[in-house]
Symmetry: C2
Subunit: 418 residues, 2 copies
């Protein structure tokens, strides 16, 4: 099955917004075994939209249309669709009921613009919009399916997930699919590929693997295609168990997890508390933990010790240590961690000291050098990294590396949590 | 002049990458007075690309093509272009010299794939790529211009900025343009529009104003079109001076500035130091300052006081104050700021305490409530805000509000810095 995506709206053409809708739809269709062969973004203009529809019909079995359905622009897309499918606008009771219910909930009284949203081309099947007032519309013409949806991303996504994809799957036009994403940290892509090559080659034909690398991790997406959802889930879960045996220390979570979120949950399960001492990461580690709801359960607090004065006054770093080894040293990292652990009375503590850049590097300690200390009441881990990137990425990478070392120490000391 | 953008590459169609190139090109063309009427993304497939080119030629005076020029995919786009323009690949010495120079610098020896990059369709004018090895290519056919560029964003941007836009301006096909962006904080868009309505209406015809609102600020972009760059600059600068008189307290910077960057520069100029005490913002304020190079000049450090224990132990907040007023109160915010000012011996100090959510709200203090204290040695500012958003946005908005209050206090106490 071949698909084309048509997005309607000037905002995309003048670069006011980036078209993330098409990428999301392209990914979803691809996952369901439908090939997208063209994406076309056009002006809010009658003749131009008609031409785009006609061009798409020549090649595509499925045409997904977004945009041009907001209350102010209502007329354009719907009128074009009426023209194209040779029909007229009629009142749809199902849509009117949905609009009425949504407005009543929001205590808004209905005006003419709202009422007009219940007018739809007579030849369409209405698709329910569970998150907004503009309905989805489904048309069939010769052998091509056309679906029109609002351009608001969360409305488009709910209509796609709740209506379009299930209907396509039901009709046998899309494959039914199950996917799980395994989150991997601390191994370069090429080395990962080598380590899991045999496993990858042995995957059954109906499971596809995709490498999705980003700045912070590599996501491995397993997509299983078939009839029986239950057996797909079983097989994917079995394959992930085997993968775990190959790279146990690198898999930190699944799907929407983050390293700080996962590590925070380990701290909660261990009933342990955390203190953070940051120099070069400047508050980023604290931010990564506190971005997650519920972090106050385990996080007592942190100290951003940017100046040596603060390292000494608040964290108790000794002036002799600073003089003998410099601020960027394992000795200072350790005293910072011990200092915050004592001052805040925590079970675990982490500390960073390094050179984020762009200035301050030397031959011995170039920009990107960072010393990380992670300690518990029994153990000490000290690691040096050199992240030779720009300031922003050095801060980000140092923060992630610190959180990962803490995660590893938590798992070593609490193996039942793994 | 009407333009169409054609992007070539499967990555966009399967949603592996979001097409940010087209948004950037659309914005640039729009700024130069060229209307983009369609963006088309197509497969890496010969016939399909030919068809897209022919369709574009029907409507467009300018066709910008990106992608399909990487060394591995080299053949596809260039061969299609040879077909379309009825010519063949020839060796271009200028491109060969550029490729040789770039590889020599990187100490890489040249292979056949590299040499092939110097092969270009005989009917094109080569556009220099100052950041990569694949050249831009400029074709004229009947009344339509075609420009092919690599899809790597920074390579495309440098060819557009250094070659394509200047050539279009020189030929009179694009308008020459000067733009400045004024950064505005702390006023809703509708109120801003009302306040500057008379100024906006009185703008000369050759200056266009665009409102670009985002989560953190409103950017007002002034674009001046005309022949004489110098007089454009003078007039824009004169208009900005008038704008400053209307909303002096809301303009914090220009173009690529950030609130923390601007405020940090004020601290440097004032020769003053800063300490930060954060509860609900959890390290975000410290991160916003330390994201800027050179922040160690003024930032002594910060304390993330997530638990009451830390508020008391490190910041000296009194247990009676916590009991009498609760952690989210102006009294606690003030004691936190005073505590960090004393502990770190700083001139200025800021503190936040609030409920980021999603839990922890009450009728009296709903999620999004935050108390902010900003103090110097002479002055105290205490403000309560209610940001009724999700956790992420509450943290972000509270952090920005705090930095802005500090900026205002700095300007009040050091009027010569304004």
């Amino acid at each position: 099955m071949k698909a084309e995506i048509i997005t309607i709206g000037d905002e995309i053409l003048i670069g006011q917004i980036v078209d993330t809708n098409s990428a999301w739809m392209g990914e979803q269709l691809n996952l369901h075994g439908i090939e997208v062969f063209q994406i076309t973004s056009v002006h809010d203009q009658h003749e131009h939209i008609l031409e785009a529809l006609a061009n798409a019909e020549k090649h595509a079995d499925l045409v997904l249309i977004t945009g041009g359905l907001g209350p102010t622009k209502d007329d354009i897309t719907k009128k074009v669709l009426c023209d194209y499918f040779d029909c007229e606008l009629v009142l749809n009771e199902q849509v009117l009921a949905n609009v009425t219910e949504r407005l009543t909930k929001r205590k808004v009284s209905m005006n003419q613009l709202n009422k007009d949203q219940a007018l739809v081309p007579s030849k369409c099947t209405v698709l329910n919009n569970s998150t907004g007032t503009a309905p989805g519309m489904w048309f069939e013409k010769n052998d091509t399916l056309f679906v029109s949806m609002p351009g608001v991303p969360f409305e488009m996504k709910s209509i796609m997930s709740e209506e379009v994809l299930p209907r396509l799957a039901k009709s046998g036009k899309a494959k039914s699919i199950y996917h799980q994403t395994v989150l991997v940290y601390g191994i370069p892509e090429s080395m990962l590929a080598e380590k899991i090559e045999a496993w990858e080659t042995a995957l059954p034909d109906f499971i596809k693997l995709a490498y999705l690398p980003s700045q912070l991790m590599i996501r491995l997406r397993l997509s299983a295609y078939g009839e029986q959802m239950e057996s797909l889930q079983e097989e994917v879960s079995r394959q992930i168990d085997q993968l775990k045996l190959l790279i146990p220390e690198h898999i930190f979570g699944y799907n929407g997890d983050s390293l700080a979120g996962v590590t925070g949950r380990l701290l909660v399960k261990a009933g342990a508390t955390l203190g953070i001492a940051e120099s070069c990461t400047g508050g980023m580690i604290a931010h990564m933990f506190t971005a997650n709801a519920g972090s106050s359960v385990y996080l007592k607090g942190g100290v951003v010790a940017y100046s040596n004065e603060v390292k000494m006054a608040i964290l108790g770093v000794k002036s002799e240590t600073l003089e003998a080894h410099g601020a960027v040293s394992k000795e200072v990292a350790l005293e910072m961690a011990q200092g915050v652990q004592q001052a805040l009375h925590t079970d675990y503590a982490v500390a960073t000291t390094g050179i984020a850049g762009p200035d301050g590097g030397t031959d011995e300690k170039p920009v990107g050098t960072v010393w990380i200390a992670v300690i518990s009441k029994q153990n000490i881990k000290l690691e040096r990294y050199t992240f030779a990137h720009n300031r922003e990425r050095n801060i980000m990478r140092s923060s992630q590396a610190t959180i990962n070392l803490l995660r590893q120490l938590l798992l070593t000391e609490n193996p039942h949590l793994a």
